[in-house]
Subunit: 392 residues, 2 copies
């Protein structure tokens, strides 16, 4: 079955469409990425999306119009992808644009309420493509006590589990998060959590000190040296010590955190600050692996065991893979652990396509009426069939 | 199959739950209403819903929380209905709470956009009930060029079509709307449109002149006499002359219209004004039947034909059926047309349950992957499979 996966992330840059051939069922599904394209949002749509995210004051009419507008754009993007690839999908999975996500319940009208919201009208996609569409994946996990995220570990498990050794799949977006897959893992042995900052702090420092949106290929960081004393201090923060499951966001690594980092680095050369921000991501990943992944490894569990870890490969995806300095630092960080650092690209799964592929895979499971959440990643009571099906 | 239908209307009073046994498929479905209950919204939820409807300024966080809160309340209502009726449903259909509906496209970010929005998270309902839930029925009709409303004509057609004579099914909610079903009608011969005010103007006059929320059983109107000159003037309005399909709302029969009615009646006794508002609904219905339904009747189509109409029964539902004066006026209005006036209650379908039953029936069709919109009622290019399926 050819399935289209449609993803648009919180950066609101645009729409990723993956066309994927999927066979089998559940954890035994087999995937082949056939094509992948990125379609930037028209500028006025991007502005409207950014205005609507977490908005304090917005009109219901505009939110409703945005929902239908995004539905049309998603449909057109899949159509454009199909034309370019000369393929037609039989099913589509659309993540939608997240407007709000609150995984911890807060008081609303006297009730504890956690909630999530992805917009982009799937009925329009189904009607225009003429195929069923699965959308709105996160609420079903929250409905059974999960945090609604991350959902990508299902793909990690399907695509990267290995019979003889363990793999850690690390995504580096704004935030870093990893999925740990022990050798011969059953689904409930998989676990996932946020490791700390991904590109968020690096980008903010590039913006502040160099007036650039990001440090292209890590060139600025490459000219400096990380300040170890600053790193030690930042890595002492509670988040890094907190055991998984845990999630991070702008609350932990946004504006205030960057201010603190700059304050600590105050007399340093700008390139050294850049290198420090980059090393922070690398070292927080290393810390997470040593502190929370390896101790769970059977070969290491006996106290004081010196057996080499059965985790042998560390597979990176996300925008962070395009930062050469960050990747070098991660390699250095993991070298003592005897872990080979690879990217998902090495497995035929380009970083930029990964999330779109994940939602094609989740849609496929839902279409087969199979669950596709990983409770050990989201904290849910049990796996759920994710999403809602709109028929053409 | 036992299907729960869940409806909460724009008055935001609360939640109607119907438990319906449904057999067969498509237009040949057979229905049996097993139980019906109304659950009022907690007052703070009702306030939040009314604040959110068409809101000019609202926070995305609150809208997201409202979506999940309503989902929980819908689930609890169905569970309460099941306990009371000692029945368990195998499927549920939930209309949701309409926050916005715009059937005519308007410009949004340079694009013509029509849209609709019903809130109330179906994934929560599915998880709590342990059965699949169909929700969000209207977008699929809009996706194929329809106005997304009315959707009840499908039920009207299934429940009220007759082999030997035609029936008109009239709902009197805030607005009046009718579904005309010719004898032996095929689905595309059914048509539906708004006839004008239902209870909206009557309620507003009761509020203004008698400080009551509505005219209980039409007792106030019964003490007065309609002012024919005012009625003639009001019925000359463009809306009543406009051929179907047409929809009405507060734009046509809200505040401004009531002001005009009161201005025209200025020197009259308050009971006469009440009677005039009531007669307006009755006469606008009569006008709609004579002007737009009977001329389409084959027996009447030959110019000047005096053949009696094949429409023999006029079946009323909605809150208007509880207004005895309005019902008497409708009977008088239709008597010359040789139409028997009945209520849906006479067919075992209580007025208050009708919409909840309709969404149970629509959910059932979607579950069977069958379309259930009536393009001649919504203006859609073709019938659509309505709604989105959430699995338990």
């Amino acid at each position: 079955m050819i399935v289209a996966g449609v993803m648009s992330g919180t950066s609101a840059d645009g729409i990723n469409v993956a066309l994927v051939r999927i066979q089998g069922r559940g954890f035994r599904s087999r995937l082949e990425l056939l094509a992948h394209y990125e379609f930037p949002y028209p500028i006025e749509v991007r502005r409207a999306v950014l205005r609507a995210m977490n908005a304090k004051s917005v009109s219901v009419a505009d939110l409703s119009r945005l929902n239908f507008t995004l539905g049309e754009l998603y449909a057109k993007s899949v159509q454009a992808a199909q034309r370019r690839a000369k393929l037609e999908c039989e099913l589509a999975g659309c993540h939608g644009q997240t407007l709000y996500h609150q995984s911890t319940p807060s008081n609303y009208l006297g009730r504890p309420i956690a909630c999530t919201w992805q917009t982009g009208e799937a009925a329009l996609i189904a009607a225009k493509l003429g195929v069923p569409v699965v959308s709105d994946f996160r609420p079903a996990d929250m409905a059974v006590g999960g945090t609604g995220a991350p959902l990508v570990p299902f793909l990690d498990y399907v695509a990267f589990r290995h019979r003889r050794f363990g793999r850690i799949v690390q995504n580096i977006g704004g935030i870093g998060n990893l999925t740990a897959i022990p050798p011969r893992a059953t689904p409930d042995e998989v676990f996932a959590f946020d490791t700390g900052p991904g590109n968020m702090v690096i980008d903010a420092v590039a913006e502040r000190l160099f007036d650039r949106p990001y440090d292209r290929n890590g060139r600025l960081a490459a000219k400096g040296e990380p300040i170890e004393s600053v790193l030690r201090q930042l890595l002492r923060r509670a988040f890094f010590k907190q055991p998984p499951p845990k999630t991070a966001g702008r609350e932990q690594f946004g504006e205030a955190f960057v201010q603190e980092l700059l304050r600590l680095c105050r007399r340093a050369d700008a390139h050294d600050v850049m290198a420090t921000a980059t090393a922070l991501t690398a070292q927080s990943i290393g810390l997470a692996v040593r502190k929370f992944v390896l101790p769970t490894d059977e070969a290491n569990v006996p106290a004081g065991s010196r057996a080499p870890s059965r985790y042998r490969e560390f597979v990176v995806s996300g925008g962070g893979t395009r930062n050469g300095t960050l990747m070098r630092m991660i390699r250095e960080e993991l070298a003592p652990l005897k872990m080979r650092v690879l990217t998902t690209d090495d497995f035929g799964l380009p970083s930029a396509a990964k999330e779109a592929v994940a939602f094609a895979l989740l849609a496929y499971q839902t279409w087969r009426r199979l669950p596709s959440s990983i409770p050990s990643a989201t904290g849910a009571q049990h796996p759920a069939i994710l999403g809602k099906v709109s028929y053409a």
